[in-house]
């Protein structure tokens, strides 16, 4: 600013004194890059230390479990991008899991049953969005409350019809089992369709987020609500629709998990309570909103899943895995989600 600016110059560019790498490290892609590096490093180390880690079977299994976590984390990523959190995800997963199993046991045709569950999930998400809109700071608690109510209600519903509570058994159609079980095949290829479904969903979502107006609206809201309002981007609509997506994907995850296990169990969602948040955070989406994305979450999901597999392979139990996850979150967050010092906020 020392030199007066020549206003007649048509194009004034800053000298590009930064290398490409330095630029990437400043940008949002930083998290993606670090996550990918971590993923490669983890995989390499695990392949060396654990026999058979790089086997097709193990990779298939990692991808299968990653697909579930990935789908469960989809909504969480969306919601986190606008600065919210959805803790109802594990409960919606559990509820839809047992309700679908219940419906499979009735005369409802399977596709209709799936549709009913999907609509229910979206409706719960919608409810979450509407109820938490005015109390966004408390969205965490509110979604938790809704989640408890949903899972309680679903269990009461399924219990009243049968003697079994919380677990519902019925014959899962073979085609549906094939979608999500490890031995499933996709057009004759040796991997379960759910992996392909996940990839397809991920691709569509990323395209939608990046290339459409409604996708960009999520980032606009996450970045600056007032400015978004000035551009006629409705905060309410965006907030509610992201929660609706979250409810929908949670319900779909719950359904697919039924295909995976073959029997309804309300507890299937439990591992996803904080793991979805961890996947989002490890991937590089800041919970403050506006940054990150599903691409990052995919990396986060894969990192967590490879890590889990690695830790299991190393003989570490669930407890130690949790500790390692926790220890992983801190440096990842410290890398890209630090808030500025208070003196820069004045």
């Amino acid at each position: 600013m020392d030199q007066p600016i020549d206003i007649n110059r048509k194009e004034v560019r800053m000298p590009t004194n930064k290398t490409g790498l330095a630029r990437v490290l400043r940008s949002d892609a930083k998290g993606l890059l670090i996550g990918a590096a971590l993923l490669v490093a983890l995989f390499t180390v695990a392949s060396i230390l654990v026999d058979g880690f790089a086997s097709a079977n193990n990779i298939r299994s990692i991808l299968l479990l990653a697909a579930f976590l990935g789908l469960a984390s989809l909504g969480q990523t969306m919601v986190a991008t606008i600065g919210g959190l959805d803790l109802s995800i594990p409960f919606v997963i559990g509820a839809s899991n047992i309700l679908l199993a219940y419906l499979f046991g009735t005369s409802v045709p399977a596709p209709l049953a799936l549709l009913i569950i999907a609509v229910m999930g979206a409706a719960i998400g919608f409810l979450n969005g509407v109820l938490s809109y005015k109390i966004q700071g408390q969205a965490l608690i509110l979604t938790l409350g809704v989640g408890f109510a949903v899972v309680g209600g679903a269990q009461i519903f399924t219990t009243l019809g049968s003697q079994y509570s919380g677990t519902v058994f019925s014959q899962v159609p073979a085609w549906f089992s094939n979608i999500a079980s490890i031995s499933g095949t996709t057009f004759g290829l040796q991997f379960p369709p759910v992996i392909a479904i996940w990839m397809l969903v991920a691709f569509t979502l990323i395209y939608w987020i990046n290339r459409t107006k409604s996708g960009r609206a999520i980032y606009a809201i996450g970045g600056n609500r007032t400015a978004a309002a000035r551009l006629r981007i409705s905060e309410f609509r965006t907030w509610v629709s992201t929660y609706t997506i979250s409810g929908l994907t949670a319900a779909i995850t719950g359904c697919l998990l039924l295909g995976f296990s073959g029997g309804g169990f309300v507890g299937v969602g439990d591992p996803y309570l904080f793991t979805t948040v961890a996947a989002v955070v490890v991937g590089g989406t800041s919970l403050l909103g506006g940054s990150g994305g599903y691409g990052a979450t995919i990396i986060g999901v894969l990192v967590l899943q490879v890590l889990t597999s690695f830790l299991v392979g190393m003989g570490l139990n669930y407890a130690a895995q949790q500790t390692v996850f926790g220890l992983l979150i801190l440096p990842m967050v410290a890398l890209y989600a630090r808030s500025p010092h208070i003196r820069y906020q004045i």
């Binding site: 600016i5 206003i7 800053m14 930064k18 459409t212 600056n224 400015a227 000035r230 003196r343």
Partner: protein, 515 residues
């Protein structure tokens, strides 16, 4: 001993260089002013003195200290009233008044005493009797401002810094504030006044440091503090002449106005307002903070619906369209640019291109909502040429740009919508002279090509030689309207304070205060 001695201070925030070689010197027992236009670095300088900002280079000596936190500054006897009103809305009046006065664990005064003192002090300063248990959120802006002033004054500071803090106060209140400053000066303290309101400080200050583009460009002693000297140092006159290419202005008053407000009331019992802007016209809007001009501009832009009355535009025929929402405004070709970029303009998480493009997605998306990136890029190229935006890569984050360039992107966004009316709310806030000049030029071009401009500014100098008309708000209504020739600083200032003739600060109260 000098109260403040700063030498060659430099300070950058990321890509933005706020200070580059600023120096300042003032003594105890005087009222010193830091003057400069917006974006000249005066607030940053004040922050360095109050310990909020740390200088990158230079020597700081404030009352023998170089404070690194506000707490250190306060301990050294430095109290600061920040530009932004620092209150905890949820807490009560007394809690806010006595914020930070106690020790870490031990209370220095009892709560009862605090309440009594808070009430007493506010009665004296604000001349209102407020229950000290009232939560601050329930109070008007001016009282909040007084609470902050009371907090600072009650500390009995040796150095008191006012950073543009009289904006929320009316004339009478401003005079009371001056009285308070003079009392502090009499008591041997130093008062540092950060302002761009020249007329206000001519009377009261003993000396002034003038900043321009982050550098100290001069120091004036009492006798030298005149409007002319100040403007010369702030290089304001050159700037305004640069912008003042008014001869090609064509105002088609013969036709229907481009935008019209009829009987609009800002509140239930407020004066009804009538307002018109024609194609080719640039209308300036001024007023003290809280006089209603910001609300009015919001109503014009369709951001908030008018509580009463209506805002309308005229179509090709004689049919009027009412503006009650942003959608109406957009359909009618009205766009809005805010100077409060951080709050209502920028998406700090997004790229330069996207900050520009977000407003255009509606027009550039296919039926399925997929954005046409080629078209968007082309639009950006056009505006980029027009506004000479300075950047590294268009996919860089907008926050890598300086304030001025950020503002240019937002203005480009408004122009790209090819509007009929542009409404600007203090757009030159915190931008450098070059950007301002660009902005005036483009707005003038826009008006010349048949656009209408409504330009709200907190710096009335901006209207000189630029606006075709200036409407001044006072207490929720348009108090006066000046045509091009009558737009002078004295006239506007008087109207802002609700006076019909040019005013002199501290005409009566000031001397009493000293006595």
């Amino acid at each position: 001993m000098p109260a403040i001695s700063l030498q060659n201070i430099a300070k950058s925030f990321g890509e933005t260089r706020a200070l580059a070689g600023a120096s300042l010197h003032c003594e105890l027992g005087e009222i010193h002013a830091i003057v400069g236009e917006n974006g000249s670095g005066k607030s940053t300088l004040a922050k360095i003195i109050s310990g909020v900002a740390l200088p990158d280079a230079g020597k700081v000596d404030v009352l023998g200290h170089a404070p690194t936190t506000p707490a250190e500054a306060i301990a050294a006897g430095i109290s600061t009233i920040y530009q932004e009103i620092m209150v905890a809305e949820e807490l009560t009046v007394w809690e806010n008044t006595f914020a930070g006065t106690d020790g870490l664990w031990r209370r220095k005064t009892t709560t009862a005493e605090k309440k009594r003192l808070a009430r007493e002090t506010l009665l004296r300063l604000a001349e209102v009797d407020i229950d000290p248990d009232t939560p601050v959120s329930a109070l008007p802006l001016s009282v909040k401002q007084w609470i902050v002033i009371a907090r600072a004054v009650l500390q009995k500071p040796k150095l008191l810094i006012f950073d543009e803090s009289s904006a929320a106060l009316d004339l009478e209140a401003t005079n009371r504030l001056h009285k308070e400053m003079l009392a502090l000066k009499e008591a041997g303290s130093c008062v540092l006044l950060v302002t761009h309101r020249i007329a206000e400080l001519v009377k009261i200050t003993d000396s002034a440091t003038v900043l321009s583009d982050g550098k100290t460009v001069g120091r004036l002693e009492k006798s030298e503090i005149t409007e002319k000297n100040l403007l010369r140092l702030m290089s304001a006159d050159e700037r305004h002449s640069a912008a003042g290419k008014r001869e090609n202005s064509v105002i088609s008053t013969a036709h229907k106005p481009a935008l019209e407000a009829c009987n609009v009331q800002l509140a239930a019992n407020a004066w009804p307002l009538d307002f018109k802007v024609h194609a080719g016209e640039i209308v300036g809007i001024a007023g003290l903070d809280g006089a209603g001009q910001s609300e009015f501009v919001s109503i014009l832009a369709g951001i908030t619906p008018a509580p009463a009355g209506k805002v309308q535009v005229w179509g090709a025929s004689t049919v009027s369209h009412e503006i009650t929402s942003l959608a109406d405004a957009e359909a009618a070709g009205i766009t809005y640019v805010s100077g409060d970029r951080k709050k209502e303009g920028l998406f700090p998480n997004l790229s330069i291109l996207e900050n520009f493009g977000l407003a255009l997605y509606d027009r550039m998306a296919s039926r399925f909502g997929v954005i046409d990136r080629t078209q968007l890029s082309a639009a950006f190229d056009d505006e980029e040429l027009r506004l000479s935006i300075k950047y590294g890569d268009r996919s860089d984050k907008i926050t890598t740009l300086s304030g001025g360039n950020q503002q240019k992107v937002l203005i480009a966004r408004a122009f790209a919508l090819s509007p009929k009316v542009i409404i600007l709310n203090d757009p030159a806030r915190g931008v450098d002279i070059g950007t301002k000049q660009d902005l005036y030029t483009h707005l003038r071009d826009f008006a010349s090509n048949g656009g209408a401009v409504v330009y709200l500014s907190t710096e009335i100098e901006e209207f000189l030689n630029f606006a075709d008309r200036a409407d001044v708000f006072f207490e929720g209504g348009i108090f006066a309207s000046f045509d091009q020739g009558a737009i002078t600083e004295d006239n506007l200032l008087a109207a802002m304070f609700g006076q019909t003739k040019p005013i002199v600060f501290d005409e009566d109260t000031g001397t009493e205060g000293v006595a």
